[in-house]
Symmetry: C3
Subunit: 139 residues, 3 copies
C-alpha cells in the first residue's frame, strides 16, 4: 500500500463559508500516482466539516440558512459550552450534522464520482487559520 499526505490551510474572510476543494483533492491524487484505493479528506478542527455535495451557490446559501434556522442557531446564550468563554458551540453541532470527513473512491487513477459530486470544506467558525488533511491510500 502506498500513501500520500497533504495539508490544506484556510483562513476564511467570513465566519461561516463553504469552499470547493475538489481540485486540491485531484491534485493530491495526481501527485500520489495511486490508481486504485481511496482518499480520506478530513477536517482537523471540530468546528468545521468536509462533505460532498453540489457546486451551486444557491444551495450553499440554503445550507448556511438551514444550519442557522433549523439545525443549530448561533445564539451563544443557548449553550453551556460557551460558559467556558467560547461562543462557538453551534459550530460544534453543525460539524456533527454536516460530517467530519469523507472517503472518496479512486478507480483507474480518478476520483470515482458521479455527476455533480464535488468535495467541500465547510467552515463554521472561521477568520483564523485552520487545516484539512488529505490522505491518499492505495496502489
Amino acid at each position: 500500500m502506498t500513501s500520500h499526505t497533504k495539508y490544506l490551510w484556510f483562513e476564511t474572510k467570513k465566519r461561516q463559508e463553504i469552499i470547493d476543494i475538489t481540485e486540491e483533492v485531484e491534485e493530491a491524487l495526481r501527485v500520489s500516482g495511486i490508481r486504485e484505493g481511496m482518499i480520506l479528506v478530513s477536517a482537523m478542527h471540530i468546528s468545521a466539516s468536509v462533505f460532498v455535495n453540489d457546486h451551486e451557490p444557491g444551495l450553499w446559501h440554503d445550507i448556511l440558512h438551514w444550519l442557522e434556522h433549523t439545525v443549530a442557531p448561533w445564539d451563544p446564550k443557548r449553550y453551556q459550552h460557551n460558559d467556558t468563554g467560547e461562543d462557538n458551540a453551534a459550530a460544534h453541532l453543525r460539524s456533527l450534522v454536516m460530517g467530519h470527513e469523507v472517503i472518496v473512491p479512486v478507480t483507474t487513477g480518478k476520483l470515482d464520482f458521479g455527476p455533480w459530486q464535488r468535495v467541500f470544506y465547510g467552515e463554521w467558525d472561521g477568520q483564523r487559520r485552520k487545516r484539512v488533511v488529505i490522505k491518499v491510500l492505495g496502489e
Copy 2:
C-alpha cells in the same frame, strides 16, 4: 493491497425510498476474496445517502417522516437552489444529514457487523437512474 469495485444501479418507483443493499455488499466481498480490510459503499449522487441502520419497515417510515417534518421539508419555495429550475434542494440537505457513504470493516472474510446492522441506500430524489459504488480494499 487488493481492490474490487462494483456499481449498483437504482431506479426507484417512489421519489423517496429506503432499500436494503446488505446482500449486494456481501456479494462484492465474496467476489473480491478479501479477508481483512474495509468496504467503502458510497452514493454517486448528492441527493441520496448510504447509511447503516435497522431492517424494520416501521423505522423506515419514521426516517422518511422525520426527514419531511423535522429535518428538511420538501416545499420547493423554501430554498434558493430551486431558483435554478430544480425542486430538490431538500434532497440535498437530507443527503447531508443521513450521510453520503459508509465504511464497513471486513474481518476474517466477513462484514464485521454487530447484531441488526444492515447497509441501506436512501433515495431522496428518485424515479430516475442513479448509482452506488462499492469498493472492497484489503488483503
Copy 3:
C-alpha cells in the same frame, strides 16, 4: 497492507452517555505498529455513534440537550418503530445524525489530529452491553 482489529465493550450506567475513547484508539495503533494508514472506529449497534469532537463536559451536555429538544425527542409515542415493542426509535435517528463511524488518519505512527480533536463513543440506548470495533489498516 497490515491490519489490526480490537473491540471495545461498553455498558453505560445512564441510557445516554458520551465517552472519550481516544486513548483506546491510540493503544490499538501502538499495538498494530502501523506508521501510515487509517483507523476505522465504528459502532456495532444502530442506536449508538462514534464521532470526533471536543473533550468539554459543557459541550457534551449541549449535545444531549440538542438531541432531545431539536433533533429527535425520545417520546416513544412519536414513532412507528416502537409499535414493535421497542421504545428506542429516537436512538436510531440520533445515531444517523451523529454518525456511525469515523476514519482517523495515521501519519508517522500517530493519529493525524488537529488541536482538540478527540474520538467519542455516543451511547443513545445504553444500560446494556454494546461494542465498538477499531480496525487499523496500513503499513
